[in-house]
Symmetry: C2
Subunit: 376 residues, 2 copies
């Protein structure tokens, strides 16, 4: 499918981002997502490059700020690789932030110390919403594509690289609220009182997410994950109208093959346990699960076409290693034997105070878990 | 069933708390909970006596503090009745706080301005957990029973009075964390690392909740609601072990009849949409639903024995009245025609900035909704 790449990306960009056409040497992660047999249950952890690692904190200090870290490809590459140097992880994930897209749209992302992400110019006025446009990722988010390419070169095909984006609804939550929120009152007021405005934001943001993820794929991302972190704040009918509809629209337009390989897509909806069947139907290869749902039950509810990723409670990592191991085994047992299609992960990002030795015990336990279905 | 009352409560208390044996003149709320036909869909709102009402803020200012308001029966009675003077509500709910029980256990409840509830002495040390005991509600929570009795007298059987308590797990969350929490790390660490300690807290707290709710029933509460506000933070297996098991234990020990009438029990688990069948099976008459689940789907999943309460998004009340009305009608339509067993409510407590006129429009719309099943 190199043809589609030519069609979308000017030829002049090709040499820089061209990477070897080959599956990674450890391709268990990609195989599990595509429901192919694996050697072992692959594992990676959401936010695996982060503050629980002293080496990350050291690099971040050198960078000066979290945003500088995201925007400097060599440093983003450095922290992306740090957890892989420590642990036998089956995938790397691009180090970045889900709010780079609204930042590129001109909302002015900043991080107030101890307060999480904020926007200088939240999106609330009708004129600003009408003026919103999807940025060209090769112009305004070039630093992300540069990081992806640099990480791919550094990985040298050892394990696959995951690209990612926030889902349109989750990005809209931050854009309208101007940051995180306890009750999402501003967003919800718009949703109920002026749904037309929210739909306009979502349509533009969906276009931006498509362009952003496709650019990451062209730059070398071998799988993508879409984070719908705030899907769980919606009523069932609003979830259909404001989240699922745009996930479907994004998935339909993603590049499906690149470098001669399928590029699987994972959709993670925090708080989406009630809606698994609907999430699986948006056109993704895998559904990411938070820790509230029983993995075996999720397996039973979905068809054999959809892989599952998850779903240990990140807080379980604060227990002693033997408890961590037991909890991992309970989850692996719940998935059931003799089957592929499971990528082990946490049900949410790893907590910054997590002891790294507990993470080591977890990764080892997942890989050591006996499985009847070994690769032929 | 006055016999059981005699057995539990010293005779000297009887005259004070003795109330007329009769169903309220408007008993639609109780009838819906018991799956009996009703004149109209009954409605009340979680936190209906609260800061969105100017008259509440006035009484609270007079009381000096939120806790003084809770602990002064005449003032608690006054604010309980305020929303009923404004709106045609089908039930009153005792004005109190779910943390009165841990306060009576000696943890020292206080409210830091703008920070929510806190405990002076969070429950973390093994010796303190071993020393924890269930308080006698007639001694340590007498102010609550006095408020219940006073509200019953003031209501004069117009509508039923709902008593309530936090569920053991939700109370334990606050007790161990010392307040609300973003990630419940302290509680979760105990849950995974020292489940024996958490079980000890839950067992004592379940005893306390049973005594507390039974005392409220004896003082005049005609239905009870148990709030499992934090159930949704648990994995499916932890929910079974640390929440459901104790809900079951509480429900099994609640007084089922009083004043010659059934006293229905409602269990509300925020974030419990995935587990409705399990919640319905703990022995309650009704399941309270947050706004994330489709009411019609909930109806289809549960047997005809369980009533449902809910479930409009409280944030929908920020939309103009015509949108509020449409949203209420959508929910009533989703429940389906020709059936009883629905108490309309919000899916969570009403927000303090809600315009009271929107609440009026909501109540009216619920009552005006045409239903094929009118009382015979």
């Amino acid at each position: 499918m190199i043809v589609s790449l030519h069609a979308i990306m000017p030829l002049s960009r090709l040499p820089r981002f061209f990477t070897a056409m080959a599956r990674p040497r450890n391709d268990n992660f990609l195989r599990a997502l595509l429901m192919e047999p694996t050697d072992r249950t692959p594992v990676w952890l959401m936010r695996q490059a982060g503050r629980y690692l002293p080496e990350y904190n050291e690099t971040r200090r050198r960078a000066g700020s979290f945003l500088a870290l995201c925007k400097t490809p060599s440093l983003a590459c450095e922290v992306t690789l740090q957890p892989l140097a420590r642990f036998d992880l089956d995938a790397a994930i691009l180090f970045s932030d889900i709010l780079t897209v609204p930042d590129a749209m001109g909302l002015g992302l900043y991080f107030a110390e101890g307060e999480g992400p904020k926007f200088e110019r939240p999106l609330r006025e009708e004129w600003a919403i009408r003026a919103l446009a999807a940025p060209d990722p090769w112009d305004h988010l070039r630093y992300v594509m540069d990081a992806v390419a640099e990480i791919r070169r550094a990985l040298d095909n050892a394990v696959p690289l995951i690209g990612f984006s926030g889902a349109p609804f989750t990005l809209a939550c931050y854009m309208v609220e101007g940051g995180s929120s306890h009750d999402f009152r501003t967003l919800k007021t718009m949703l109920y009182a002026r749904p037309d405005l929210l739909h306009r934001i979502l349509a533009v943001t969906a276009d931006a997410v498509v362009a952003y993820l496709n650019a990451q794929i062209e730059a070398g991302a071998q799988a993508v994950q879409i984070f719908e972190s705030w899907g769980g704040i919606l009523s069932a009918s609003a979830f259909e109208e404001f989240s699922l509809a745009y996930l479907r629209s994004v998935l339909a337009r993603l590049i499906k093959h690149h470098e001669g390989e399928r590029v699987p897509a994972i959709v993670f909806v925090k708080g989406g346990g009630q809606w698994l069947e609907k999430i699986a139907a948006v056109g993704c290869d895998a559904v990411g699960l938070d820790w509230t749902i029983d993995l075996g039950e999720a397996r039973a509810r979905l068809t054999e076409k959809t892989a599952l990723q998850g779903n240990m409670d990140p807080m379980a990592l604060f227990a002693p290693p033997e408890v961590v191991v037991r909890e991992a085994q309970r989850i692996l047992t719940s998935f059931g034997p003799g089957r592929t299609g499971h990528v082990f992960n946490l049900g949410h990002g790893i907590h910054q105070a997590t002891p790294p030795e507990h993470v080591a015990a977890l990764i080892e336990a997942v890989h050591a878990f006996p499985r009847e279905s070994v690769r032929a």
